[in-house]
Symmetry: C2
């Protein structure tokens, strides 16, 4: 198994609301207005929004509701950009779970939670390399 | 907010077990034996393993246990590769939630669930472009 993630699918309760949220963050999709899955190109991978019940069935798992142990992160080039993305998320209706602040690991980050309860850490990590195209390198 | 995911963090109950599982799939990390977070370079992004309790606290969410509406996918170049990765996951101790088979969307996929309950769809999608370096393009 190669060392990569191709697609992250977020189960949602209301597809139109979830799509509108990510579009309010500036994301663009080629999905039609009646598609039941919304795909966003996300760097070299894809982020999808799909009905949570369908996703649970398709994934062969039981949905216990709530958060299930997965947090996404969006890395940016500096603390000011962290705060800017958090403000954009707040304006789009996200709950801000943690305001931007220095972190114990020597970076700066905050967390927003999307309308379906999926948390995103927005982070500046000075120990990693963030390339022009958004690629993140551990070294 | 740029259209990309930098990091996917999976909350785990037993870090050594989770790390051993991904290493058995052939993944390699630079983490030391006593690090409390294990980072894997995953294409142009990063996959992390971290204690689920710590991740919940850091993410500002309440953990309800079980699955929470996120499924990852690993795309490969053909049906044979789907089956090969599923066999590798089975041998590493994964539960196979869905054996490899043709899908309703015209591809071929199966699902394994890692030791902490995180599902991975392993998929061949003939409608998308899978580049040499693992980049997935919607068109």
């Amino acid at each position: 198994m190669e060392q990569r993630v191709s697609l992250v699918t977020l189960g949602v309760g209301d597809l139109a609301r979830a799509r509108a949220f990510y579009e309010a963050l500036g994301w663009r999709t080629g999905a039609g207005p009646h598609d039941d899955v919304v795909f966003f190109q996300a760097g070299g991978a894809v982020l999808a929004l799909w009905g949570r019940d369908q996703l649970a069935r398709d994934s062969g798992v039981r949905d216990t509701g709530g958060w299930g142990g997965v947090t996404l992160a969006h890395n940016v080039a500096g603390p000011g950009e962290v705060d800017a993305v958090l403000e954009q998320a707040r304006a789009a209706g996200a709950r801000i779970a943690r305001e931007g602040a220095p972190t114990f690991w020597g970076g700066y980050s905050g967390v927003f939670v999307d309308p379906d309860g999926h948390p995103w850490e927005v982070a500046h990590n000075p120990h990693w390399t963030l390339e022009e195209d958004g690629t993140v390198r551990l070294a």
